[in-house]
């Protein structure tokens, strides 16, 4: 349906030119919730720019049909959640745990999970402080993480419907986001809290006591299972469904999603030349959390992306030159423009620690389902030590696969404030650049200069 052309990152205007060549049948082929009246989502970036996503005017996007599908679907999420409510689905907000509670929610037919905190991209895509300013007026000041945008969104009721249920994590989770959720609760929303424990394993062998470690892990698992069962019971009460077989089905579907995302990421990172851009890959990694509110369609999109990536690898084509310098990226970029900018400087993102590694882990389909969920969550990025967070990056550095590390801090993000200095100390064999991502309108010339200097050092 789109001519077979060489991979390239293209502008919004170039995407519109390509979009003009699509037929009406092409556009009508893809729908969410299988609804042809309002479920079409194959739209170019210009559509979303007209509705206020101002940053799209200067971003660059992959030129494949798969990428077009992906962006159209992702930018449609807000409407999709309202449509879900209109057609009788229950909307469940899952906050803070990043990856596991949606597996439980998706087990219940007609229930759609979503992450309100993912609204933190909106101020950047819109180049707008509307949500952040609203959050500030409600008591979450500039010194809190950008995820406070969720507070503004709950207040406004214009970005997603009022959820039928809100599950929110506390404990070994992002402190400032937990405080944001408390503010949401103070607005009058009914929040069901659950606690995620700290992961007390000792890879450094400070305590060389395997028995202690195993015993402790068992206790941690048991605790999480209890919390997940409580969530299950609430969902069962909400929907009238009890059978845990449906949870096993949900786990299988989630595993398909995670395997696909992992396949795309691994193949992209290991290819001789990058077949897919970093911004799109980050979007895929975050989609792994819950399938952007329609997991079936998201799976279909990922298959499309996987096929595109494999075709490009087979042909030896990509979106960057072969001599791009491989780097690792720690913390999500917050500002999507950064990923474009870094690639323009011929740096290639080949490893990531976006605080959502737990969503890439396969869930054991043979174990008791709640135990399997608990075990998969114990890989979570934010519930262990700093060294655990960056262990795979350190290994890749030792193997010579990574030549530099970029850490994007979010002002107020507790993990940023606590961990960045430690990580800088731990990564001592390659250059590290850490920077604070400013709020919209975003990246300043000074920050660009710092990244350019970092890139120059790596190219030298």
């Amino acid at each position: 349906m789109l001519e077979d052309i060489a991979p390239k990152k293209i502008s919004l205007l170039e995407w519109s030119e390509r979009f003009e060549k699509l037929t009406d049948d092409d556009i009508g082929r893809f729908t969410y919730y299988h609804n042809e009246e309002w479920g079409r989502y194959l739209q170019p970036p210009a559509t979303f720019m007209v509705y206020g996503a101002r940053q799209l005017k200067r971003l660059q996007f992959d030129n494949s049909l798969a990428a077009l599908r992906m962006w159209g679907f992702v930018f449609n999420e807000s409407e999709r959640l309202f449509r879900a409510r209109q057609c009788g689905k229950k909307i469940i907000a899952t906050m803070g745990d990043l990856g596991t509670v949606p597996v439980i929610v998706m087990a219940f037919p007609g229930c759609t999970p979503f992450y309100p905190e993912c609204i933190w991209w909106t101020p950047f895509f819109n180049e707008s402080n509307v949500l952040l300013d609203t959050a500030s007026e409600l008591g979450a000041p500039e010194a809190a993480c950008f995820s406070r945008a969720a507070l503004g969104a709950f207040f406004k009721r214009a970005y997603f419907p009022v959820p039928d249920r809100i599950f929110a994590s506390t404990g070994a989770t992002c402190d400032d986001f937990t405080s944001t959720i408390q503010s949401i609760e103070h607005l009058g929303f009914d929040v069901t809290w659950f606690e995620v424990p700290f992961r007390r394993t000792y890879p450094d062998r400070i305590y060389d006591d395997a028995q202690f470690e195993a015993k402790f892990l068992k206790r941690t698992e048991d605790y999480l299972i209890k919390e997940y069962r409580r969530i299950w019971d609430i969902m069962a009460g909400l929907t009238g469904k009890e059978n845990t077989d449906i949870l096993i089905e949900s786990i299988r579907k989630t595993n398909r999603l995670r395997a696909l995302a992992r396949e795309i990421m691994d193949e992209t990172h290991n290819a001789e030349t990058a077949p897919f851009p970093a911004l799109e890959l980050m979007t895929i990694e975050f989609g792994n959390l819950y399938g952007y509110a329609d997991i079936d369609e998201w799976l279909s999109i990922l298959e499309n992306v996987r096929d595109t990536v494999q075709l490009r690898i087979e042909r030896g084509t990509g979106i960057q030159p072969k001599n791009a310098v491989p780097i690792a990226w720690i913390n999500p970029s917050a500002d999507p423009f950064l990923l474009n900018f870094v690639e323009d400087l011929n740096l290639r993102v080949v490893d990531t620690e976006y605080v959502i590694r737990q969503a890439l882990v396969q869930i054991d389909e043979t174990a008791e389902p709640f135990r399997a969920l608990a075990r998969s969550f114990l890989h979570a990025s934010l519930i262990g030590s700093t060294r655990q967070r960056i262990a795979s990056i350190l290994r890749a550095i030792d193997q010579g696969k990574i030549k530099g590390v970029l850490i994007t801090n979010v002002l107020g993000g507790s993990h940023c404030a606590m961990e960045t200095k430690l990580m800088e100390r731990m990564i001592d064999s390659v250059p590290v650049l850490s920077l604070d991502v400013p709020p919209p309108p975003g990246i300043t010339e000074q920050i660009k200069t710092r990244i350019e200097a970092f890139a120059e050092a790596l190219h030298d």
């Binding site: 919004l12 205007l13 519109s16 979009f19 003009e20 699509l22 009406d24 556009i27 309002w38 079409r40 989502y41 739209q43 170019p44 210009a46 559509t47 720019m49 007209v50 509705y51 206020g52 101002r54 005017k57 807000s78 409407e79 309202f82 449509r83 209109q86 819109n126 180049e127 707008s128 509307v130 207040f155 406004k156 009721r157 214009a158 970005y159």
Partner: protein
Amino acid sequence: MIERRDILTSRERFGLLVIDERPDRCNIMPLVTSHASTVANMSVKDYYTSGMSMARAQLAALEAYRHDAISLFSEVGIIAEAMGSVFEYPDNDLPVLKIPALTKDSLSEIPIPDPCTAKRLPVYLEAIDFIYTAVGDRVPILAYVPAPFTTGMMLSDPNEFLIQTIKAPQSIHDIMEISLQAAITFCYHIINAGGLPVIVDPLASSSVVSPQCYKQFALPYERRLIDYLHRYDLDIILHICGETAPILDLLPATNADLISVDKVDLGLVVNKVSDRIRVVGNYNTSKIAFSSPQVINDDIRAMVAEGMRSPKGYIVATGCEVPIMTPMENIKAFITAAKETAWYWV
């Protein structure tokens, strides 16, 4: 009564309306077009010949009135001029058609204009670009585009055009085709600048042509233009000023998402089509220019109560453009009354 504080931005409000959700209150969009020049203290000619001036005027009006949309428009001849019709530019009035293109050129000589360079089309694009940067995250930017029928009549001697609808209908369809292509090209550039095209077809109203003529020559091309815009999943307002009661039943067939009406009983519109299409309208523009603020206040309260019965949603608006010399306090009275009464959220 004390004005309630808005919860949503204009853009958030419009975004909810077009996905069949109730926003905090109705969007309030009086058609503040060339009138913006008086708010900015500039000549009307300056407004419609310079994109920067048009943008400055619209932003000044937005600041003064705090309504819910930018409305970029000067007059309905803008595409026809870019296709060869000759207009005069009076210093303090809107352009006036002097020589229709088809009275001097044959149809085959009429070009599809390039909106980046042809006559005043770039004025719109420059204005959109500037306004989008300034307030595009908070306010929808509506760019009014003449529909093919209206452009076709501005390319022709109007009397001759109407006669030919009876004597030589194919020649009218030929004009419609090229006018449609020109409108599509213009819309494409508007979208890529960040504006939302609004289709205007005043010369297709029942004040000018019969319902049969509308159905045969205007509606099919309105629909094709709207269908083109629906490829982008944009939500399209069709504005037909003048009399529309005789063609009300035909309007849903245009596929428009919102219908903006003028000289027709709003209750009739609500009763007839508002279960299928969102309604925009329709305060009398003579009244907003010449009535007292108190009369306007009373009228708007009654109009809002009527319009809010629309199940698909309602936008509080004037029936047509706010006249250029309308006193500012009258427009403020319109907006204040609407902001006090047009609430969906308790």
